[in-house]
Amino acid sequence: MSKRVIIVPCSGIGKTYGTVTREAAYQVAEELRPETTAIVPLSLLVLGDEGARAAVQGAQVITMDGCSLACATLNVRQAGGAVAKDFTVLDAFRRNKALKPRGISELNEGGQALARVLADEIAQTTDELIAGGVDHA
C-alpha cells in the first residue's frame, strides 16, 4: 500500500456541489495533509489511464461525490480501487445547513465553509487510515 491516501473528488462541472468536492480536495491535498494525500483526477480514471488505475489500486482511497450518481465512488471501484471512505456533499450539507453553497466557477462563503468542513473530516479520516483505524467501506 502507498503511504499516501488518494483523494478522488467528482469535480462535477455543472453544479455547485461538484465544485465543493473539488475545493475540499485541494484544501486537504494542499493545506491540511500535503504529506499524506494526493489527488487523482477522475477524468483519467474515466479514460482508463494506467497510471491513475494503478494509483487507486495500490492505495487507500477517499472519494467525494456531489450528487447521488456517485461518479467518483463508482469510477474508483470500476478501476479496481478499494474505497476506504466515501463522502457526499449532500450529507455534509445536511449536517451543516447554515453553510449553503452557491456558485460554480467561484464558491460563495457558505460553499467555502462547507468545503472546509468536508476537508477537515477527510483529513481526520486520512489520519485514521494511515494509522490503520478505518475499515474499507
Binding site: P9, C10, S11, G12, I13, G14, R22, E23, A25, Y26, E30, I39, V40, P41, L42, S43, L44, L45, V46, L47, D49, L69, A70, C71, A72, L74, N75, Q78, I104, S105
Partner: protein, 247 residues
C-alpha cells in the same frame, strides 16, 4: 410523433485537478456555458459516461460535442469517443497557448491573474466552435457534420429530457402508465435510415430495442411490454416518413 429539440452543442471539459490547464478547461467551459453561449450549449459530465449517465451518453451519441482538454492525454475527447461518439471538435489548451502566444497557466486551485487570459482565449475558441457547429448541418444518424451549408430552421418545438441534457424524450404508454423513452426518435431515425422498415408482419427490429436499452433502463420482466410500445412508435414513425417521402 414528438418534435425534436433545437440543436445544442455539448461541452465536455476534462476538468483535471492535477494540472493548471485542467482548471482552465473547467473555467473556460463554464464561461462558454454561462456567459458566451448559454442558449446553444449544455454541459456533459465526463465521469457520468462511465458511471452510467444515460442522458449524457445519449446526447453525445446524437448531438455535436466539443471536447476541451488540458493536456495531450485528451481524456475528454477520448472518453467521449470511447463511450459515445467522436466529438465534433477537440480543443487542447496547448494549442490555444500557441495560437495566442500566451504563457502556460499557473495555479491549480486558484489560477494566477495572468492565467485569466488563457481562460478567455479558450472560452472564445469554444464559442467560435459552437457557432460553427450551429451553422452546419448535423446528421444525428451519423453523428457527424453533413456539409458546411447553413442548417435549415428546425420546424419543431422542444420535448427535452428534464435532466437538462437536451435529449428528446418520447412518452409512451406501457402497462397503463406513461413512460419516457430517452432518444427514441433519433434511434428510430437511425434505424429507418439504415433501411429498416415496419412491414406489417414482422416484429420490432431487435436493433431498436437493443439501442433503446443502451440509453434507457428497461426493468427486468418488462421487455415484452416495452417492445410492444416501441413497435407502435416504430410503425407510426415509418408511416410518417413514408408519408413525407410520397407527399
Amino acid at each position: 410523433m414528438p418534435s425534436l429539440p433545437k440543436r445544442k452543442v455539448g461541452i465536455v471539459a476534462c476538468s483535471g485537478e492535477e494540472l493548471p490547464a485542467g482548471t482552465v478547461t473547467r473555467l473556460a467551459a463554464l464561461k462558454a456555458l454561462e456567459d458566451l453561449r448559454p442558449s446553444e450549449t449544455v454541459t456533459i459530465c465526463l465521469p457520468l459516461f462511465l458511471a452510467g449517465g444515460e442522458g449524457d451518453r445519449a446526447f453525445a451519441r446524437f448531438y455535436p460535442t466539443i471536447a476541451v482538454d488540458g493536456c495531450e492525454k485528451r481524456c475528454a475527447a477520448r472518453a467521449t469517443e470511447l463511450y459515445s461518439n467522436k466529438p465534433a471538435a477537440s480543443i487542447v489548451v496547448d494549442d490555444i497557448l500557441a495560437q495566442h502566444n500566451l504563457p502556460a497557466p499557473q495555479g491549480l486551485r486558484r489560477l494566477t491573474p495572468e492565467s485569466g487570459a488563457v481562460v478567455d482565449a479558450l472560452a472564445g475558441a469554444i464559442a467560435a466552435e459552437v457557432d460553427h457547429l450551429m451553422a452546419v448541418r448535423w446528421s444525428r444518424t451519423d453523428g457527424a457534420i453533413l456539409e458546411a451549408a447553413p442548417a435549415a430552421q428546425e420546424a419543431v418545438s422542444t420535448s427535452a429530457c428534464a435532466c437538462g441534457s437536451g435529449i428528446p424524450v418520447t412518452t409512451v404508454q406501457i402497462a397503463g402508465r406513461a413512460v419516457q423513452i430517452m432518444a427514441l426518435e433519433p434511434i428510430l431515425e437511425l434505424a429507418y435510415n439504415q433501411g429498416l422498415r415496419a412491414n406489417g408482419t414482422g416484429a420490432l427490429p431487435d436493433e431498436i430495442l437493443q439501442t433503446v436499452q443502451v440509453y434507457n433502463t428497461v426493468p427486468s420482466g418488462e421487455e415484452e411490454q416495452y417492445a410492444q410500445a416501441l413497435d407502435l412508435a416504430w410503425r407510426a414513425y415509418c408511416e410518417q416518413r413514408e408519408g413525407q417521402n410520397h407527399g
